[in-house]
Symmetry: C2
Subunit: 277 residues, 2 copies
């Protein structure tokens, strides 16, 4: 059974938010964030030795670093000596989400699009080479929002991601491409920049993008980009569902209402955030 119609491939790509090619110049913080990434992106709690093997750090250094992260509540050390993500992260995130203006503006439009289509609607924003899902409107099931909201997925195999890439200025796109680490999630996943670029060109002229089971088998979607003129927001909105229910015809039919929704959100953002952006 398909649980909710969105891609749940959460732990299958390492460290998507960290531009692994370009090590950041953030001193001590950067080193600690690498560790936090390791612990939060692992499939299960890690023991000291596991982290020692993954992080390239001497024992003494690693021990103190983990100690600091635990002390601050960013990771937690259980009674079996295993490190897991800390709950303090939830407090930070709930505030980050609650106040996000893009999400607040988009919310009613997502609801309307959900009423129109009856399928799951997602709002995502581009950060680095990942799409972070900011909101979701879903039908009937008791929603488990955290399972998708906040989740970072690769941009090259999601509808919202490809829509976002399609409106990126060409210099920004050229900058981003080398940082992509293509992973074949399904037979339809793009695995090189060439085929991806061809499709991005098509998306740019059409104004909407499809995900033809590229991130998760059996799941497809249609998406439209959302952006601000100054490039400070780049994201998109999508309608997602199981392939057996959503024919390509139906997805094509929805392309227009999705673009209209995207347009409405952009117009409102322009009013709220000032016309310069």
């Amino acid at each position: 059974m398909i649980s909710s119609g969105d891609s749940m491939a959460q732990a299958d790509d390492e460290s998507v938010l960290r531009d692994t090619g370009t090590p950041r110049d953030t001193g001590t913080l950067g080193k600690l964030m690498v560790l936090l990434d390791l612990v939060t992106h692992a499939d299960a709690p890690l023991r000291f030795t596991d982290i020692l093997a993954l992080a390239n750090q001497p024992r003494g250094t690693l021990h103190r670093q983990l100690g600091h992260l635990v002390e601050e509540g960013l990771i937690e050390l259980d009674a079996e000596g295993r490190y897991a993500p800390g709950l303090r992260l939830l407090d930070f995130a709930s505030r980050s989400w609650a106040r996000n203006e893009f999400r607040l503006i988009a919310a009613p439009h997502l609801a309307a699009l959900h009423r129109r289509t009856g399928e799951t609607v997602h709002l995502g924003v581009l950060r680095g080479s990942s799409i972070i899902y900011l909101d979701k409107v879903e039908g009937h099931q008791p929603v488990r929002m955290y399972s998708q909201i906040g989740n970072a997925s690769p941009c090259y195999c999601t509808g919202v991601g490809k829509a976002a890439l399609s409106i990126l200025p060409s210099d920004k796109l050229r900058e981003l491409l080398p940082s992509l680490r293509f992973t074949r999630f399904t037979p339809a996943t793009h695995v090189n920049a060439e085929t991806l670029l061809v499709e991005i060109g098509e998306i740019a002229s059409a104004g909407h993008a499809f995900d033809r089971e590229e991130h998760e088998a059996g799941i497809c979607c249609v998406a439209a980009p959302i952006w601000s003129d100054d490039g400070s927001f780049i994201g998109g909105v999508s309608v997602t569902g199981p392939a057996y229910r959503l024919s390509m015809e139906l997805l094509h039919e929805w392309a227009v209402p999705i673009q209209v929704t995207a347009r409405k959100i952009m117009d409102e953002m322009r009013i709220r955030l000032g016309p310069r952006r």
Copy 2:
């Protein structure tokens, strides 16, 4: 109209997760986390000068610290030069939440309790002197989970918080009390340790706690504690709703099913996590 029956007082207490009395020995990380706390707990995006006034740091130092936090995506600097919480926090948190064992074990029991009572059910865990809400089961409204999940509330004025305090060993309780900063949210809020301790004693013998509109006017709840023998989990489960609908009689009636739910969750945790705990 009461939106969802749970307390939305999110930004009314400063830095609840940080034990302000005892400055942590976490070196550079600790100083950066103070800043992240400031930015995430503020009501609106802050400008450099605002943060300069709040943080006790020289200009040059603060500038570099904020730069590092921005570079890592923990906070974001908008086009107007204002600092806001960063979306990377969402990615960290979604993973922290998705894998949390306590929540996974409790989820079906929360759903059952919700069916039994028809009101909003919360799961919370004690961290420092705050309750962090881990999950929520709500009725009919389109749920906005992040608005409550992840939110940290004071322990002295919430049902789950007082229930948690009631099973704390007395030495731990004595340790925690001095760190409490009592804020009068409503006329019923405890504002000193004395009256709180009296009620905690009553809760300990009864096995359940009430929130009689102590955190938010018009909202009350009944809660039962959940704990592991080794003290590694201390939290609780609660049923919350508007006072006009939930008489004290009704809350008393629900005390038993809530304690049964708490017991079931504890039993299952003991099986899953090993009998020692």
